[in-house]
């Protein structure tokens, strides 16, 4: 019996390793060791007022700060029976589109693409692949511009609040965003075809159960009241605990979930697999052109799915800005009351995110947060096991470190989020 443990995983967000255990017959087990420290966010918010919670939970993660913040804001609104005005809902959607562009853009170009072009980093590929590296830099600038304009800061902005915004962006600022997004469309198309055409190793391929939030309405939105599972099952968001049954395991500060005993995956590939037919415009054309049956079995296709979502996001922005600018700024919503409970679900870049709060006497009594990477952790181990077995069968154990990194990386794991 021996265990091969990778070095500290690189080009991921957080601290962890993969440990492969094998005996003479082959690989027996793979563990995703997560030793990123626990920060106890679900306890930090206890005893706080609803207004204090969004700023605290946004600090769970820098890449999906907006998703955490808006999940908390929406849960509080639901618990306190506040209905936000339409302009507020639309600005939140714009903010989430910006976050998706920023997070996916960071991941596909800076973290993932180097592997597929044979480089250890985006810096190293700057000479030979200058055009691609430049797109990688510009896509983040676009995402951050959107987040800063609507959110107040590019990371952990305090502008989105319960009931509305501290300060509404000027029409001109949003027109500038619209123009910037429009100019980026050809580069987003290039991104979608670049990743759609990559030939991907199928070492980790295996049938996968997917889950995501069924978008409300008919579009490819971020929120809804129903959880969709690729087994054709549907759950109410309120019953998220039946999907994510969070258990503590001794090798991981991030809790683990299985749906009816089976590991499952959330994220871009889950969304495109289950609701890709709702993509429109060029994104709709691209999913028709590139999506095939290999995608849903191979987690490496998450990057192609992210590329499609970047394109979808930039195409959605111009008409969204027009609609926002056609509405006047609402007055501040005041609220009272201190009893209630609610669950809110948001599709953050990494996948379905759930925030649940109970309020009593005007303060938070309890909180539960289930993050996407925590839900993916079991399936990450499973796909790594599949890949590790193939490598051993081919006597390619020397590739374990590289391949395990690639499989984990494909999930764009946010280890800091997963522990929280």
């Amino acid at each position: 019996m021996k265990t091969i443990e990778t070095k500290h995983l690189t080009r991921v967000k957080g601290n962890g390793t993969i440990a492969v255990t094998c005996d003479d017959a082959g690989v027996t087990d793979v563990k995703f060791n997560i030793y990123e420290g626990p920060r106890l966010f679900e306890r930090l918010v206890v005893g706080k007022t609803p207004a204090e919670v969004p700023g605290i939970v946004s600090r769970i993660c820098a890449a999906c700060s907006v998703s955490h913040r808006l999940a908390a804001v929406r849960a509080m609104e639901s618990a306190l029976c506040i209905t936000p005005p339409r302009k507020v809902e639309l600005l939140r959607e714009l903010l989430l589109l910006g976050e998706r562009i920023d997070s996916h853009g960071l991941h596909v170009y800076t973290m993932a693409l180097p592997d597929y072009l044979g480089f250890p980093s985006i810096a190293a590929m700057m000479d030979k692949f200058k055009f691609e590296a430049q797109i990688g830099i510009e896509v983040k600038k676009l995402g951050k511009d959107i987040i800063r304009t609507v959110g107040g800061r590019s990371i952990h902005g305090e502008n989105p609040a319960i009931g509305g915004f501290g300060r509404y962006p000027e029409k001109e600022e949003l027109v500038r965003i619209k123009q910037r997004a429009g100019h980026f469309i050809p580069f987003a198309v290039k991104t979608a075809s670049l990743f759609g055409e990559l030939v991907l190793p199928d070492l980790a391929a295996s049938d996968t159960v997917f889950a995501c939030i069924e978008p409300g309405g008919e579009g490819y939105g971020f929120t809804g009241e129903t959880i969709a599972v690729s087994t054709k099952e549907r759950l109410s968001v309120r019953d998220y605990g039946q999907l994510a049954n969070e258990q503590v395991k001794p090798h991981s500060f991030c809790k683990r979930s299985r749906f009816k005993g089976r590991p499952y995956s959330v994220g871009a590939l889950a969304r495109v697999t289950m609701f890709g037919d709702r993509l429109e415009l060029r994104a709709g054309e691209m999913v028709e052109r590139y999506y095939n049956e290999d995608w849903s079995r191979n987690p490496l296709y998450n990057n192609a799915a992210r590329a499609l979502e970047i394109l979808q996001a930039v195409e959605m922005i111009p008409p969204l800005v027009d609609e926002i600018n056609g509405l006047s700024d609402p007055r501040a919503v005041s609220y009272a009351g201190g009893e209630g409970a609610a669950v809110s679900a948001v599709e953050s870049p990494g996948g379905a995110l759930f925030h649940a709060y109970e309020l009593s006497g005007g303060l938070v009594r309890s909180a539960d947060i289930v993050s996407p990477t925590a839900q993916n952790a079991e399936d990450i181990e499973r796909h790594c096991l599949v890949a590790a077995r193939k490598l051993f069968q081919r006597a390619e154990e020397d590739r374990i470190d590289d391949i395990m990194n690639m499989v984990v990386r494909a999930y764009d794991p946010c280890i800091s989020c997963s522990v929280h």
Binding site: H8, G37, R39, G55, A62, F253
Partner: protein
């Protein structure tokens, strides 16, 4: 290889990665500053990291596990200048609200139960300087690019300067009648370190103290903070407690000293 570059390592202990992402966003500006092959280790963005001696180590995050502590000691030992990057590294951050061991254990137990964890032991979160000498603190949640570049320039040119001790009001555009405190909006600016450009007050949102306590808080503004409130230790702890982490006691003592 001595190519005139400033050998730099960028590390994260326990935190949200926001400060490292901000370093990344500095892009060309930081690469120019460090020259040549400056960045030797940046695990979040590269796989060909070279450890060993560093001229400058930037470390984000709090020490929240035994593993974090060991990692930090190693980085300190092989680095000439150690910079605490961000509020978690400077004060312990949000997660350092539970400073008392028993209080931390109770809350940890509520989240995890009482499992035997295999790889490393967790602990109450502390800032870097609870365990090692820190040469320079760059607070922020996350840090500001401008403040970071300014700090790096100073360090490379002539060694670490002292941090700016003034409170946030020094950077805030809302003076006189525009001050949020005068409008009855709770704002922790007078007690909070500057560096963010007062972006939240600009959005009509009171400062939440996320840069940690100011070196020289403006204690004359205190009576205007939450008019009618009692400015005692409990009050300060509640208001500044979210981000001031392990630094809260020092701040409380100072405030109480003035209020007497």
């Amino acid at each position: 290889m001595n190519d005139g570059s400033t050998k730099t390592g960028i590390y994260g202990l326990t935190g949200c990665r926001g400060d490292q992402l901000t370093v990344l966003d500095c892009g060309d500006r930081i690469i120019e500053l460090l020259r040549g092959s400056g960045i030797r280790s940046f695990i979040m963005t590269a796989s060909d990291n070279r450890e060993g001696r560093m001229d400058i180590a930037l470390v984000e995050g709090s020490v929240s596990t035994q593993g974090d502590k060991e990692g930090l000691l190693s980085i300190r030992e092989r680095s000439d200048v150690l910079v605490a990057l961000g509020t978690c590294a400077c004060t312990g951050g949000l997660q350092a609200a539970f400073q008392d061991w028993a209080q931390w254990q109770e809350n940890y137990g509520r989240v995890y139960g009482d499992p035997e964890m295999e790889h490393t032991a967790p602990c109450p979160s502390r800032p870097l300087d609870a365990y090692v000498k820190v040469d320079f603190h760059v607070p922020g949640c996350p840090i500001s690019e401008k403040q970071l570049l300014h700090a790096m320039k100073s360090i490379i040119a002539s060694g670490p300067p002292g941090p700016d001790a003034r409170p946030l009001c020094a950077q805030c555009a809302l003076k006189g009648e525009d001050c949020l405190l005068r409008k009855g909006i709770a704002c922790l600016g007078p007690l909070t370190a500057s560096g963010c450009g007062a972006v939240c007050p600009w959005h009509n949102i009171g400062c939440t103290g996320c840069w940690g306590p100011a070196g020289e808080p403006d204690l004359e503004e205190l009576p205007r903070l939450f008019p009618g409130g009692r400015f005692d230790a409990a009050f300060i702890r509640r208001m500044m407690g979210a981000f001031s982490g392990a630094r809260i006691e020092e701040l409380t003592v100072r405030v109480e000293g003035v209020m007497k």
